[in-house]
């Protein structure tokens, strides 16, 4: 354990003062103070921008565009939320993003778990090569294939369709899903599988009756990570979608237009950001431990 607090405490100092700092309650408080200030600073740094979005979302427009700035809404209102939710672009965007991110997640999990079954529970030649391929795909820069995807998508008449996004989002969700689920599959003990084989189960039955339930936590975690990645995507959505009715939430949020054209409707934009982000934050906090495990499995073990 090397903590900053302990580090500051052991700095050389006159003996008498050191004893005072260690013995008395006030002294202990003083020595711990920098540490707690640091904690508070980190906490505020992490939270403040989101707090600011929330406070701006609840602040009526008349108070929003006024100096000096209020740090807490004096007359909290839901008007911005109502305004944001009543725009048809934003309504469509919420539905579109749910369709896209949901389909991407299900596809990635279905295809990815089959691949993970093969990579995690079978011995065969070429296994390492496939694993390396998947690993290298996880750091694949999406921009590198934009030119080809753009022409492919127009060729197949998928331009301006959600299907274009669902397919192209597999690039960054599938390899990651395969990689993480493989590590889950590999971690399972072999005896259950053997018992099922002895009872005459086929490999596919073993897969969905024995293994799949066992890696359910892994499916939930990787599913959420894939969902978040698809929900947050911007580059492809910006390049392949044109009609406002087909916008995803990221597109909608960057093109928000107020009723009056001269001022950006920051209150409504912030309300929209809160609506878009809150489900992700809630899900993340509920699944906190598992997400941390999933992220570190994806990154640190690589």
């Amino acid at each position: 354990m090397s903590t900053v607090a302990e580090a500051t405490r052991t700095v050389e100092r006159p003996v008498s003062r050191g004893r005072w700092l260690r013995r008395t309650p006030l002294g202990r408080f003083v020595t711990k103070l920098p540490f707690w200030l640091l904690i508070a600073a980190i906490f505020i740094y992490a939270i403040f921008p989101f707090y600011w979005a929330i406070r701006s979302a609840f602040t009526p427009e008349s108070e929003l565009f006024r100096t000096p700035v209020d740090y807490f809404p004096k007359h909290p209102t839901l008007a911005n939320f109502r305004g944001a939710l009543s725009t048809s672009t934003f309504q469509h965007a919420l539905i579109n993003s749910t369709i896209v991110a949901g389909s991407v997640t299900l596809l990635a999990l279905a295809i990815g778990s089959l691949a993970a079954y093969a990579l995690g529970r079978f011995r065969f030649r070429g296994r390492a090569a496939v694993l390396y391929l998947m690993l290298s795909m996880t750091i694949f820069p999406q921009i590198a294939i934009l030119g080809a995807l753009y022409t492919m998508i127009t060729r197949f008449h998928l331009y301006d369709s959600l299907l274009a996004l669902i397919l192209s989002y597999m690039i960054f969700t599938l390899p990651f899903t395969v990689w993480v689920l493989t590590s889950f599959m590999r971690g399972l003990p072999g005896d259950l599988e053997e018992a099922a084989y002895v009872d005459g189960a086929t490999p596919l039955q073993v897969f969905y009756k024995v293994l799949l339930p066992l890696i359910a936590p892994g499916l939930v975690t990787t599913g959420l990570l894939a969902f978040i990645a698809a929900w947050n995507e911007y580059l492809y959505a910006l390049s392949f979608i044109q009609t406002p009715d087909k916008y995803t939430v990221t597109l909608a949020i960057t093109t928000f237009q107020g009723k009056s054209g001269f001022q950006q409707p920051w209150g409504e934009i912030m309300a929209a950001t809160v609506i878009v982000t809150l489900p992700l934050i809630v899900a993340t906090l509920i699944l906190q431990r598992r997400i941390l495990a999933g992220l570190t499995a994806g990154a640190v073990k690589g």
Binding site: M1, S2, T3, A7, F35, I39, I42, F43, A46, I47, P49, W52, S56, V69, L114, A115, Y117, A118, F122, R123, F124, R125, G126, R127, A128, V130, M134, I139, P141, Q142, I143, A144, I145, L146, G147, A148, Y150, T151, L167, S168, M170, I171, L174, P203, N232, Y234, L235, L238, S239, V249, T250, I253, M270, T273, V276, I281, L285, T296, V300, G302
Partner: protein, 308 residues
């Protein structure tokens, strides 16, 4: 992992049972959908992008018939001032964000690694920036940076750090710093979490032994923590660098296609989609791919060298 996958020697290969062969076939069968998707959405497009980069393809067919132009696009790219400035801008952004994220992330990881009340809440708070979409984070900061009604100007003036409000985003001297601030805010906690995972596997008795030997905390950090954390540090740095080099979202939300604040990725995107120069844009994409590849090679050789 490698032990499982090494090819069996020939003498044994003949003895492979039918069951084993059937298993092998089944495994490949299970991999077919995943490999098909990867081939279709990643490998084929990559090949096609490389091919397109040697042509003068335009999005609006009919302007000019697409033909092979050899290295012409790359020659143009070499003399393209916008491309050069976008590479430079991206590299500056990468250096700024990765170093800030690493130093801040390390401090946060060390703090959170100690025992204190509210550690769970702290970790939860750290996941908040990570869960917020980059585009949304950019919008939130754009509002905070607002030159008239933004909280950053207001707080700065109130605390007497600023004499007057600053147009953070539009002013060229603070433009890069303000985009970097968004990325640093969004990613530092993630870096801290990765480093924290690395810190937690360092055995505690090492520190206890160092305490007994009278080593200061500062010495312990340099002699124990840092060396043992090296694998986690390198992986984190690689991930962050690769991510930063392909940055697009924050810059686009802040500046659109403003020429002096384009990154490599936003220049490629605007060339392909905005201008419809698919051939030239593909050459930019390939160049980005090569530049990122170069960084990977540098990191990997650096890792090899330091391991020896």
């Amino acid at each position: 992992m490698s032990s499982v996958a090494t090819p069996a020697p020939t003498s044994r290969r003949r003895r492979r049972s039918r069951l084993q062969r059937r298993q092998e076939r089944l495994a490949w069968l299970l991999l077919v959908p995943a490999l098909a998707v990867v081939a279709f959405v990643a490998i084929y497009p990559l090949g096609k992008t490389i091919y397109q980069s040697f042509t003068n393809q335009e999005f609006l067919a009919g302007i000019e018939p697409t033909k092979w132009v050899g290295l012409q696009n790359y020659r143009d790219l070499w003399h393209d001032a916008t491309f050069r400035s976008s590479v430079w801008e991206t590299i500056k952004f990468t250096l700024i964000t990765v170093s800030f994220e690493f130093v801040l992330g390390m401090i946060i990881a060390l703090v959170v690694n100690s025992n204190f009340k509210g550690r769970g809440a702290m970790r939860a708070a750290m996941l908040v920036p990570w869960a917020i979409p980059t585009v949304v984070a950019a919008q939130m900061w754009k509002w905070m940076f607002d030159d008239v009604f933004g909280v950053i100007n207001d707080a700065g003036v109130r605390l007497h750090i600023l004499h007057h409000s600053v147009a953070w985003i539009s002013q060229p001297s603070t433009a890069l710093a303000s985009v970097s601030a968004v990325d640093i805010w969004k990613t530092t906690p993630f870096v801290a979490l990765l480093l924290l995972a690395g810190l937690q596997v360092i055995p505690r008795d090492l520190y206890e032994a160092a305490d007994v030997d009278g080593a200061s905390k500062w010495q312990q950090f340099w002699r124990i923590t840092l060396p043992l954390l090296r694998p986690a540090i390198l992986v984190t740095l690689i991930f962050r660098t690769l991510d930063a080099l392909r940055v697009f979202d924050v810059f686009y939300v802040f500046y659109g296609n403003r020429p002096d604040t384009q990154t490599m990725a936003s220049y490629a995107q605007s060339t392909i989609v905005g201008d419809g120069h698919v051939g030239y844009g593909s050459a930019i994409s390939v160049a980005i791919f090569l530049i990122i590849g170069l960084f990977v090679v540098i990191y990997v050789t650096f890792m090899r060298v330091t391991e020896e």
